[in-house]
Structure formats: structure tokens, C-alpha cells
Amino acid sequence: MEGNHVAVTGGKTLRGRLSRVPVKRLLLWMPAVLFIGVFFYTPLAAILRTGIDAARESGWESLPIRRAIDVLGFTVLQAALSTVLTLIVGLPGAYLFARFDFPIKRILRAFTLVPFILPTVVVAAGFEALLGSRGWVNLALMQSGLIEAPIQFLHTLGAILLAHVFYNTSIVLRLVGNAWERLDPRLTAAARVLGAGPWQAFTRITFPLLMPHLLAAAALVFLFDFTSFGVVLILGGPAFSTIEVEIYIQALQALNLPAAALLSILQIACTLTLIVISSRLSERAQAGSGRVGFRAARKPGSIAEKTAVGVLALMLCLLFFLPLAAPAARSFLRTDPAQGARSAVETGWTLDYYRELFHNRRGSAFFATPVEMAGNSLMAAAATAVLALLLGIPAAALLARPNRFDRFLEPFLLLPLGTSAVSLGLGMLLVFSRPPADWIRSPWMIPAAHSLVAFPFVVRGLKPAFAGIPVRLREAAAVLGADPWRIRWTVDIPIVRRAILSSSAFAFAISLGEFGATSIIVRPDFPTMPVGIYRLLSQPGGLNYGQAMAMTTLLMLFCAGVVLAIEQEKAQT
């Protein structure tokens, strides 16, 4: 508690010192504000203005306000439910990663990010193989006589929620897990010595200390679920609609820009409210984070502990590997029977689909090998990570000890994450297709659009880490003669480097998974791996499907490999 007290008063003196040089503070804000102003607010304003102008012409009464409110209700409901479920699954996982070492820890950790990048069509195929009406689970249940008819899974609310948990648990695992790992276990030990039970120690010590990180993770998860598109469209089926799906239909299929603008404004209002609330809550919960550079993970000791760790790790494996297993297995497996042998399903193992990926059978002008696509993906992802960190690190450092101006600015910088990618993409089309910014065909537009989504991740991931830097260390460095920049490099950055690596892993994953407006803006021939998967899946034929699964498997391995490599750094502490 004493450390906490010192951090607070220290924060005040630091804040006092910084507020004497507002110019410096403004300079630090410049990159992020400029970038988001140009790449987010200008296009957004352009598309909303177009929509509002059109609404003035056609009359306001034609706007589907009733429908919009209905859709908003469902959007909030499913996002709230999904967030709660994701936290329930993610927290024990975060504890597991923070406190214990076990054999496949690093690989499992890397793979938890894989769902994040997978195209929804492929995830849907994985879930169908597992939970569909002819999936393994239903078959097993029917054979055991527990049920008579298969349980409907696809096109239910349950499918949407499960997919959201599958996609977003890694956010909780990483943001909360990293903080938990840094938490000094002696705090709880002391509480236990003083007579607190394990539950009391958790609720009174651990939970309050984790609160800011938990809120940061919950806000990100909620925003992702709130703007969910593919999951609702494909796994939820046509009976469900979120604001994002509705915007897509109105803007791109019906070209009803007034309706799309109305929905976008509703969505932005909700996002802003949510970000403001979560920031306030998170500030109130802000606490010092104990010792720095502490590593509390250990091997499980007692048999009970070993069992608990084993069960928890197994459950995470089931959640993350099983839905991924179906497409992976399918990429090596020829299930189409040879002619006339329909009943005896032939299960031949094959590498043909992988070989075929390198073979331009059609002589297509747009053919690219998986290596070229991986290269394109990697370039865009690396550019995204660097850009998001360059913008995000100064912003997070400022927001860790904010003054009134910073607090006011924050929600506006995080807004891109909770804004319709469709609206934004169309706005970019309007703004960047003519001078003075005729950039729409430049390959740089891809990392720029990805960075808009990655930036809030970097900020939310780094803010609590910066806030947890003990002021004494900075002061000591200053006393020893280090100038402010030297303090940044030698004190701040090393302490937050775990969080930096974690954030860059997210930035990579966001870019590899083609999040945000890139799928909406036009693109010249710059095929990335997800684009390759969609191309293969858009035509009939067993060979095309097999290749799509092979490409998916490569994408998964590629993502896991990149994340492992990034986090390799982290293991070397």
C-alpha cells in the first residue's frame, strides 16, 4: 500500500513538472493526432457528410430509425454477453500463464492469437466440422444415445457467442496475463499470513490490482464484439444482424448512404460512451503494480496444483486447437472418394494441396505463390507494427499520467476500433482518390488502415504498464544525471518492453488478419494470405477447397511462428 501512496504523490509532482512544458506534451501528441486526423477523421467526416447531404435531399422520414434501434439493442446485448463469457474463459487462462510454467506454455500462448487472424469462413467450417449437425460432437452424443436429433449449433446466438470467445480470449490472456505475471506474489502471501483466505486474498488484493488491465481488456473485447461482422453474418446466419452488418448491407448493397450514415453515427455514439466509461473506471482503479521485473511463474508443485494446471491447459487446448484442427486436417486429407466408391470413404493422406498452391494451373495473371503472399502479409504486418508503436508509445506514456487535455483527447484516439470499417473504407475512397491525397492505390494504405485498429490496442496495452513504472526509478535516474530522453530509453522502455512486445504481437495479428477498412478499399495486385484463401474458396471444386484449407493452415503456422518469434524476446528476461 505504501508503494501505491508514493506512486500517487510522485505522479502529482511529475504531472506538475510536465504541465510547465505543455509545448513538449503537444509535440508528443502530434504524430498520433495528425495520423488519426488524416486517416480516420477526414474520411469519416467525408462519408457522413455525403450521407447527411443525401438525407437532406431524400427527406429524413425515410430513415429506418425503428430498425436501427432494434439492431442496436441486439448489438449491445450480444457484445455484452460475449465480453462476459470471454472474461470468464480468459481469467483462469491469464492466471495459468502468469503463475505457472508448463511444457507447451509458449506454443499454446502463441496459438491463442491464431484465431484472431483467421477468416470467418474458415472458422465457420471448423466449427461446423466440430459442432455442426453432422459434426463430431453431435455424432458422439447421438451414438451414446444422449440425444436423438442433432443439436442445432450454426445460426444460433450460441454460435455467435462461442465464436467471439474463440476470437477474443487472447486479448484477456495477454493484457491481463502480462499484468498478473508482474504482480508481486508476496502481496497475496502477506495477506494469507495475516489470516485472509485464498478467496479473500484474491478479491481484496489481486483483483483490485488487476482491475485497470481487466477493464482495458474488457473494453477492447467489447468493441471487437460490438463491431463484429463476419461472425454474425456467417455463424449467426441471416436471422441476426448487428449495426455493422446493417451498415454493410445499406452502404454496399443498397447504396443507401443516409441509412448507413445514421447507423454509423449511432455506432460512434455508443463507442465513445463506452470508451469514456471504461477510461474513467480504469483511472479510478489505477494502482501501482508492485515490484518491477519480477517473474513469479513457477512449475506446479503439489499433485492438486499439477492436476489443476493440467485440466486448465487442456481446456484451453480444446478451445483453441479443436476448431483449428478441422481445416488443418482437411488440408492433408483427401476425403472425396474415388469414382464409384462413394460408400467406402477414402481417407488418403496427401500433400497435393500444398504442391498445387505453388502451381499456376490456370496460368492466371493474378497468381501468387504462398511464399509471395506470406511476404506481402509480413511486410504489411511489420509496417503496421512499427507505425502503431511509433504512434502508440508516446500516446500511452502521456495517457498513463494524464492531465485534463489528455483525458479529453483519449476517447477520440481510440474511436477507430469501434467504428464501422465499411463506412471508414468508403470515406477513404472518397478522400484518398483525388488530390491533394491521391493515395488509394498506394501499398502504404494497407498498413495505414491496419494501424488505425492496432493503435488503440497498443495504447490500451501500454497505458497501465507506463502507469506502473515506479517514479522512484525515474527520479533516481534523473538524480544520477540522465536527461528526460535518456530516462525514457533506459528506464521506461525496458520496464514496459513486455507490454510493447505483446502489443506488437497484436499489431502483427491485426494486420495478418486483414482487419478494418482494407477489405473495403480497392486494392491493386497485392495479394496477402487471407486474400488468397478467399480467392480459392470462391470457386467450386475439391482441389480449390483443399488448397484453401492448405493456405489456411499455412496462415495459422505463419501467424504462430511470427508471434513466437516476437515473444521469444520476452522469454529472455
Binding site: V121, A124, A125, E128, G132, S133, R134, H155, L233, I234, G237, P238, A239, I249, A251, L252, Q253, L255, R334, T335, Q339, R342, R362, G363, S364, A365, F366, N376, M379, A382, L389, L430, S433, R434, I440, P443, W444, L473, L480, A482, W489, T490, V491, P494, I500, I520, V522, R523, P524, D525, F526, L537, S538, Q539, P540, G541, G542, L543, Y545, E569
Partner: protein, 365 residues
């Protein structure tokens, strides 16, 4: 004690150095690599805006580029509806010189919005009048394809069930739960199939048909990929439904891309009278292009025999040019329906929203 922060600083700065060096390396790599992916531009370029399904053989495209002395830049801009809407949205400052891929369900909107300027290509004269829907030649037909129901041949023969002969048959009890259709709001074949039912049953009668289809447990999914690979039993996805709304050409692709190779595809199309809807795709010169002469050459190329003969195997649709020969797999396994459903583009434009709304109230209450 007083040495503690000092030692710490030394250790931490080693980390900082490492991070700095990683950043440095990545930044240098980026600066070196990203310009490399902007391919060197020859003097002249011509830009083609199209949908994501566009494909062409490298050799065919190169022939044109050499003959015209210009490089073709292809902007893939989303599915059919999205690509057109992007072209409309940017008509004041067009992103491209030629647009290819507006179909007859969206043609009226494209013409009303005035995104095209007329071009009477000499090659258009030999094309059947059935395809030339714009008398002013702003949009010229390039290809066509029929949206039909595909069925799982082996499933029907193993169940000894006759395949439906007309749309009405789909509501019979023996076909209960056997058909997957796409949502017309999010899928172009879904919209085409809805239009086929409107053409067949009339604007008054089609709603009753869909009510019966709903009662007969037709599955509704978002798009073609899901319907075909997740729901359809004869595709590699091995789904639950043996009938799916797809294209007349799909069986030919199932034959060409069969794995292992087979003598006949596992699927076939239901091509009875009025069961299929004909989609015709058009191309046009975007109004205001500064490259009118090259744009004309590109449109001529799209209508020329080499590109037209390339169409079936690249994009799974049929060429409109009668001189273009069809590949063997198309002749054998992708027969054209004799009497596809037809609706005038103006009628579609006038009533599309209303028909879709009616469909939605029945299928997605």
C-alpha cells in the same frame, strides 16, 4: 543500497539497446522493401475496376498489353454490388478508366447514375441482341452465367429420389430440408434466385412460393461460399443439404478441379424451364476518363475472342461473343438452360427493394 538503481540502469539499458536495434532493423527493412512492391511503371497504364472474382490468363493479358503498349492495372473492389457502388461513389473523380462487372440486376442503377460514357465497339455488333440491354451502348455485355440449383447426383440416386423438375416441386414433402439458398441482401446468386422466382410466379405469386419453401425447411445462409462449402453435401465441405443455389457452370468446375480426378462431376444443375436466372455482366468506359482511346482498346479486348475464350475457365461464366469456342468440360457438364427466367433491368430497379423486403418478412421474420 545506493548502487542498486545504478546497476539496474546498466542492465536495463542493454535491453533498451536490443529493442532499439530490433526497431532499427525492422525500419530499415521496411524502407528497403516497401518501395520494391510498387512495381516499376511503364510509361502508359490503363486501369480496370472490377469485382473480386475477376481473373484472366497471364498470356492473354500480356498479348493485350504488348499490342496496346500499356500496362493494365486491375483494381479489385469487392463483390458485384460493392464494386459498382464504389464506382458510383467516386464518379466525380473516377479511380479507373474502364469498369467491368455490373450485372443486369444492377444495370439500371449504373446507367441512371451516369457512370459510363457510350462506346459503340465494332465487336459488339455480332453479340446477340438478348444480351445488349443498353441501346445507347454505355454498358456492353461481356459474359453471362445462369444461377441454377445444383444437386448431389449420388445422394439422389442412392435415395432413389427423382430430382425436382420445376420450382414448384421444391415445396413437395419429399424435398423437405434438402435445399440451401443464399440471403439476397448479402449474396448475388441469392438475389438472382429470388428474381427467378419472381419471374416464374409473378410479383403477386412469388411470396406464396417462399412461404411454402420456408415451411419445407429450406436453409438460408449469408453467401455462396457458406452455402456451397458448408451446407452442400456434394462439395468438399460435405454439408447436410443435397441441393444448393449455385451456378450452371459449377458442375464443370467440380469436374476440372476434382481430386482425385473423375470421369463425371458429383453434381449437376436443375435447368428446367424458369428454374435458372440469367446474369449478364457488362463493361463500360467510366465517364470522364482522360484515356479514352486506350479505354476503347481495353473494352474491345474484353469482347475479343482471346479474352472471351479465356472467360469460362477463369471466371466460370460463359462468353457472349458467338465466335468464342467453349471448353470441353463446359460443353459436357455445364449445359445452358433452354428457357432461363428473364426480368427487364428497369423492372428489377423499380421493385428490387420491395421484393427483397417481402422475402425477408417471410424467410427472416
Amino acid at each position: 543500497m545506493h548502487t542498486y538503481p545504478n546497476r539496474r540502469l546498466i542492465r536495463e539499458s542493454a535491453h533498451a539497446a536490443r529493442i532499439r536495434s530490433i526497431f532499427g532493423t525492422v525500419s530499415v527493412l521496411l524502407v528497403l522493401l516497401l518501395p520494391a512492391c510498387q512495381k516499376a511503371n511503364p510509361e502508359r497504364t490503363i486501369t480496370l475496376m472490377t469485382h473480386d472474382s475477376f481473373a484472366v490468363s497471364e498470356s492473354v493479358l500480356q498479348q493485350f498489353e504488348q499490342a496496346a503498349g500499356a500496362k493494365v492495372i486491375v483494381l479489385e473492389s469487392g463483390d458485384t454490388g460493392a464494386a459498382l457502388n464504389k464506382a458510383i461513389l467516386t464518379k466525380a473523380a473516377p479511380l479507373a478508366d474502364v469498369f467491368y462487372g455490373v450485372d443486369n440486376t444492377f444495370l439500371s442503377r449504373a446507367l441512371e447514375e451516369g457512370i459510363f460514357e457510350p462506346y459503340s465497339s465494332p465487336l459488339a455488333e455480332s453479340i446477340s441482341a438478348d444480351f445488349r440491354l443498353d441501346p445507347e451502348n454505355r454498358a456492353l455485355p461481356v459474359d453471362f452465367g445462369d444461377v441454377c440449383i445444383n444437386y448431389d447426383r449420388e445422394w439422389f440416386s442412392s435415395q432413389m429420389l427423382a430430382v425436382p423438375q420445376a420450382l414448384e416441386d421444391l415445396t413437395l414433402p419429399e424435398y423437405e430440408g434438402l435445399l440451401a439458398v443464399e440471403n439476397p441482401y448479402t449474396s448475388s446468386p441469392g438475389l438472382a434466385f429470388l428474381l427467378a422466382t419472381v419471374a416464374h410466379f409473378g410479383p403477386e405469386g412469388f411470396a406464396d412460393f417462399w412461404k411454402s419453401l420456408k415451411a419445407n425447411r429450406a436453409a438460408v445462409v449469408d453467401g455462396w461460399e457458406t452455402a456451397y462449402y458448408t451446407n452442400f453435401s456434394a462439395s468438399s465441405g460435405k454439408g447436410p443439404q443435397p441441393m444448393v443455389v449455385s451456378y450452371a457452370s459449377s458442375p464443370a468446375f467440380e469436374f476440372i478441379y476434382a481430386d482425385p480426378p473423375r470421369d463425371e462431376p458429383p453434381t449437376a444443375s436443375l435447368t428446367g424451364p424458369g428454374m435458372c436466372f440469367r446474369q449478364i455482366e457488362f463493361a463500360g468506359i467510366l465517364a470522364g476518363t482522360p484515356n479514352r482511346a486506350l479505354a476503347e482498346k481495353l473494352v474491345d479486348f474484353l469482347l475479343s475472342v482471346p479474352f472471351q475464350e479465356d472467360i469460362p475457365l477463369q471466371m466460370a461464366v460463359y462468353p457472349v461473343n458467338p465466335q468464342a469456342a467453349l471448353p470441353e468440360a463446359f460443353l459436357r457438364f455445364a449445359p445452358l438452360p433452354e428457357t432461363p427466367a428473364v426480368l427487364a433491368p428497369d423492372e428489377i430497379r423499380a421493385h428490387r427493394e420491395e421484393w427483397m423486403e417481402a422475402w425477408k418478412e417471410i424467410m427472416l421474420p
